[in-house]
């Protein structure tokens, strides 16, 4: 053993161009297995070379050039350039004897595909595959680069865990930011013990001077940068849902092998990215440090220091081809601008509209006027939330749906609206919508208290706003009794009275209709029920409904066909006149 080590030192330090092959081909005095000799050489060679003092000097500029060439080639998906600067890829080329006259193989050579494929497979481990419905972050499942807790990434090929540097410049990061996906700037450089690796015919072991350059990899655009769990979250032991943030920069240590032309390679320097599995737990090449992510070096965007990016995110969301894309964009913006009022406002509107549109698809009643359509669909969800609630119960994840469900919209909407309400309490429309969402989720206490609180704040002169708030309160009271089925609950009569106050206050036909309808609806739960009074109120509601732009006999008829009113108006002849008008 000691003979082998000593001779290796002598051969390696005897000058460039020395050939190692005779060393290991020479008959050994001890008959050791070949693999053991190579393993020992792997392990001892780098160390002995350091001991011998031959560590080589560091040319930071050259290192940086090689690293940048490799990183940008990986980012762009340039398989040929990346392969030609990837040491393991070079090693594979040498083994397959693909170097002809000291040149790289042709760009069409399958070797580049092999090199790219192992990188792609490794990088796939950090692509977030989890579909979280409306909590998805743009660009969404299967495309979002999420480093999680920056734990070492499992590499299936080598059955090992690594923090390989190329993860931080991977093609999926650059895919959505092709012009300038990241920048790489030097931080610190130094030498490492020589890397060792088997010769092409595996008869001997080579060594190459090895240096490292720690770089800052910065992502200029928070709309496209990778994400991870937030500051400090990496250390949490509990599997609690962690706060996610957009990464602004990380430190990455790159290991570069040099002096390679001497060993027959067409290029003098190459990056060590994903080492191969060596014998008995070692790696090929054998190095004391394979580089990669520098633990605890991540910096994150925000909160609230990226106003321009937030604006751009809003614009992209508004121009998105699908509502899911838009919502994923806004989720991302909220990661670095969680208190940006405009983002919250746009997000709340998008979600609210998404729920309304879903309701419209379910009830299939076309309404030309946007204002009536919104009120009609709000009433649709109000009735649904008090009756079967089936569409409000399952999210796309638990229900295995391919698109957001009403429940997804609803439960994503509430925290957004709550954040907006705390930032901008004077935005009464948002708070009215928030009160509706509490009612639709059957959060009865919040549904009652939200409009009651609003009534103390909305100025008396804003009569129409106060009328809308009163309607929210009326529906909250009616909905509570409709769901709980406690017909002696005084809220059913209070609900009627509140709707009556709204009716008396408003001059808007839309609110007049809604108030009259709410009063009639509440009577369905009065014991004893007064069907004549109910008919009178429904007639009033109908009269006001017909004054609203966009109203139609079809949409009015639908108001009588829900699960609360249908059973009454169809069985009692009192309502015959009303039904005849359908």
């Amino acid at each position: 053993m000691s003979t082998v080590r000593r001779q290796l030192i002598v051969k390696d330090t005897s000058g460039h161009g020395a050939d190692f092959i005779p060393v290991l081909n020479r008959p050994s005095e001890i008959d050791l297995p070949k693999w053991l000799i190579i393993l020992c050489a792997f392990l001892l060679l780098p160390t002995t070379i350091v001991w011998s003092g031959e560590t080589g000097s560091v040319n930071q500029e050259e290192l940086l050039t090689t690293i940048r060439e490799y990183a940008h080639a990986v980012g762009k998906g340039d398989r040929v350039t990346a392969g030609q600067r990837d040491f393991v890829c070079l090693l594979k080329m040498a083994k397959q004897q693909l170097f002809v006259d000291g040149n790289f193989p042709d760009a069409l050579s399958p070797i580049y595909e092999w090199c790219a494929q192992r990188r792609t497979e490794a990088h796939g481990r950090v692509l977030n595959q989890k579909d979280q419905g409306l909590d998805n972050i743009w660009p969404g499942p299967g495309m979002l680069v999420d480093f999680g807790d920056f734990q070492r990434f499992y590499i299936a090929e080598t059955s090992s865990k690594q923090l390989a540097p190329s993860f931080f410049v991977m093609h999926d990061i650059a895919r959505h930011e092709p012009d300038h996906p990241f920048s790489i700037d030097p931080v610190e450089s130094g030498t490492l013990p020589h890397a060792s690796f088997p010769s092409a015919d595996e008869s001997t072991v080579h060594a190459a001077p090895t240096t490292f350059l720690t770089t800052m990899v910065s992502y200029p655009n928070p709309l496209t940068a990778p994400i991870s769990n937030g500051p400090g979250a990496q250390d949490w032991a509990v599997p609690y849902k962690k706060v996610q943030r957009v990464i602004q920069s990380v430190k990455v240590k790159w290991v570069v092998l040099s002096d390679l032309k001497r060993l027959g390679f067409p290029i003098d320097r190459a990056v060590l990215d994903l080492p191969l599995a060596g014998p008995h737990g070692t790696t090929i090449p054998f190095v004391v440090d394979a580089g990669g992510y520098v633990p605890h070096s991540a910096e994150w965007f925000g909160p609230d220091d990226q106003t321009q990016a937030a604006q751009a995110g809003i614009q992209q969301a508004q121009a998105a081809s699908t509502s899911l894309d838009a919502l994923m964009q806004l989720n991302r913006v909220l990661m670095f601008a969680p208190t940006n009022q405009q983002v919250l406002s746009v997000f709340a509107d998008q979600l609210y509209q998404g729920l309304m549109n879903y309701g419209s698809r379910l009830n299939s009643i076309p309404i030309g006027d946007a204002r009536l359509a919104q009120r009609f669909n709000e009433l649709y969800w109000t009735v649904k939330s008090q009756t079967d609630r089936f569409d409000l119960a399952l999210g796309m994840v638990t229900g295995g749906k391919a698109e957001p469900t009403p429940a997804d919209y609803l439960y994503r909407m509430i925290p957004v609206m709550e954040a907006l309400a705390s930032l901008e309490p004077g935005d009464f429309q948002n708070r009215i919508h928030l009160a509706s969402t509490y009612r639709w989720t059957n959060d009865q206490m919040a549904a009652l208290s939200a409009p009651q609180e609003l009534l103390t704040e909305v100025p008396a002169e804003q009569e129409e706003v106060r009328a809308e708030v009163l309607l929210e309160l009326a529906w909250a009271r009616i909905g509570k009794v409709a769901w709980n089925r406690h017909f002696d609950d005084p809220d059913i009569r209070k609900g009627y009275d509140t709707a009556k106050r709204a009716f008396d206050l408003t001059k808007d036909p839309l609110n007049k209709f809604t108030a009259a309808y709410a009063m009639a609806y509440s009577l369905a739960f009065h014991v004893p029920r007064d069907n004549q009074a109910m008919l009178d109120l429904l007639q009033q509601a109908k009269d006001w409904f017909e004054k609203i732009p966009g109203a139609s006999p079809q949409s009015w008829a639908y108001m009588l066909e829900n699960d609360t009113l249908k059973g009454i108006v169809e069985t009692d002849p009192t309502f015959k006149s009303l039904l005849a008008a359908r």
Partner: protein
């Protein structure tokens, strides 16, 4: 010595044209029972038992929406063409009404729980 029958007795109530069919059925104290409720109408219905399942252990399956309160099972909502199965073991003999509480639905029925003469108390 006779022992309680552990195999579930299956009884079915169909809902059609705003009626429970049959509107009366009999089960036995101590006999594990699987009550199948099928809504064959094209509107929402509810099954609201009075007293039958109070303070009882029930297992509910199917696509209905069950509601529970502190006294236990309260009701189940049955969607259009929906079905719900309720497994329970009647504890006390008696005649227990049930109904649909959707406004305007005048739908009632009874479940009679009879003594199990062969069961040792």
């Amino acid at each position: 010595m006779p022992t309680p029958n552990l195999e579930a007795l299956e009884v079915t109530i169909n809902i059609r044209s705003r009626e429970f069919r049959p509107d009366s059925l009999t089960v036995t104290v101590g006999q594990k029972t699987r009550l199948v409720l099928k809504n064959l109408d094209t509107e929402l219905h509810a099954f609201v038992p009075v007293g039958l399942l109070a303070d009882s252990h029930v297992a509910v399956s199917g696509n209905g929406a069950p509601q529970f309160a502190k006294e236990g099972f309260v009701r189940v909502l049955l969607p259009t063409r929906g079905q719900t199965e309720i497994e329970f073991t009647p504890a006390r003999p008696g005649t227990y009404p049930y109904f649909c509480d959707l406004p305007g639905h005048v739908m009632r029925g009874t479940i009679v729980v009879r003594e199990n003469s062969g069961m040792v108390q």
